[in-house]
């Protein structure tokens, strides 16, 4: 997979620090699955976290803290079973769902305007911050909206284009409030992407009323 659109340093830093809201963090995790270059860059920022951790002044632990932890290790307590509710919308062909979504609840496709279907992705414990899967027909515009502080769109299948170029599988589009791009799905076929926003989502027109219940922050 040849990837030409990557995440910005700023977003990778926030992901490394663990301070991105759940929805955008999910899109970042999805991009990282397919992009070795961004994984290497993330590691650099995580190393910053490691360096800061090593440099922190130690805080005194309770006197028996180590003994209590050793007792837990001795007891070989089983880790809590990891169960995750999981539903999946129908995907065309043999598209593999990104592993980052495996713990998420994924709603059914819902009609969201001509040629546009949308499925809500709920991150466990993510509260108001979630993401949407968008399935958009060939030649259709992606839902028109204004921008919050950060908008991330990861292509899973197919492709779209905007003023910055063409986005294929593995590419991520990262824009902020300064950008007014108008992504259009390429004529060759439908496009599936995972999208999340930070800040207020401002879908315009009747589509907005449809979309708002799906993407909240």
């Amino acid at each position: 997979m040849s990837i030409s659109h990557h995440l910005t340093d700023e977003t990778l830093l926030r992901y490394a620090a663990g301070t991105l809201p759940a929805g955008p963090a999910l899109v970042v995790a999805t991009h990282l699955e397919s992009c070795a270059k961004c994984r290497a860059r993330l590691l650099a920022f995580e190393a910053v976290g490691g360096a800061l951790l090593d440099a922190l002044p130690p805080e005194r632990m309770e006197p028996d803290a180590l003994a209590r932890l050793m007792a837990r290790i001795d007891a070989q307590e089983a880790p809590a079973p990891e169960t995750a509710p999981r539903r999946m919308p129908d995907f065309p062909g043999d598209i593999r769902l990104p592993a980052a979504l495996s713990a998420c609840e994924i709603g059914p496709w819902k009609w969201a305007g001509p040629g546009v279907r949308m499925s809500r992705v709920t991150v466990p414990g993510g509260g108001e911050s979630g993401a949407v899967l968008l399935r958009i027909g060939a030649g259709r515009r992606l839902p028109e909206h204004g921008h919050g502080a950060l908008e991330l769109t990861q292509v899973i299948y197919g492709s779209f284009s905007d003023i910055y170029g063409r986005y294929g599988p593995g590419d991520v589009s990262e824009t902020d409030e300064d950008v007014d791009h108008q992504p259009v799905v390429d004529a060759s076929g439908e496009c599936i992407c995972l999208a999340a926003l930070e800040g207020q989502m401002l879908f315009k027109g009747f589509l907005g009323r449809l979309a708002q219940p799906f993407v909240r922050f």
């Binding site: 340093d9 830093l13 301070t19 976290g49 490691g50 360096a51 951790l53 005194r60 932890l69 502080a149």
Partner: protein, 193 residues
Amino acid sequence: MTSASAENNALGPQALSRLVVVIATDRDRQAFTWLYRHYAPRLKSYFLRSGMAGNVAEELAQETMLQVWRKAALFDPAKAGAGTWIFTIARNLRVDYLRHDRIRPSGDGEMPEDEADDAPNGEALLITSEREERLRTALQTLSSEQEAIVRLSFFGDKPHMQIAQELGIPLGTVKSRVRLALAKLRAALDGDK
């Protein structure tokens, strides 16, 4: 200073990484105890700075060290130093705690592996620790404003907009400081490519 912390001061990044490797291969409790004495108090410090109450910070530090014991076999000294790896475990626990939910996908945030690294452990450890050492040096060359913003980015839970408000500087200034700082840090890490 207790004798324990004096002992800890002697542990450099390479020694710490070696401890994790020994914990993974030998389930060595003495190695774990040394690692614990170094990291548990720093982890507590990290969680406190991230806005956790004292008892929560203590509990999350314990939980982090428990995962270090359990997941030691996943530590890849070719990828990161012990501090970096332990930081990511702590960060994931913090994210989980803030989401009031313990569910994580299996693999727990581990990225799919790149091609296997055939470098022998000792060599990998050295290369990683040299790279991270360059990063630590670069961190010290940041201006105090840049350093403050990197620190706030890691320990606060605040978007840059809010950092800007609190520091009383324009958002654009925060963003450009972050970019400059990150460019410096990346240059330090990219030196080995």
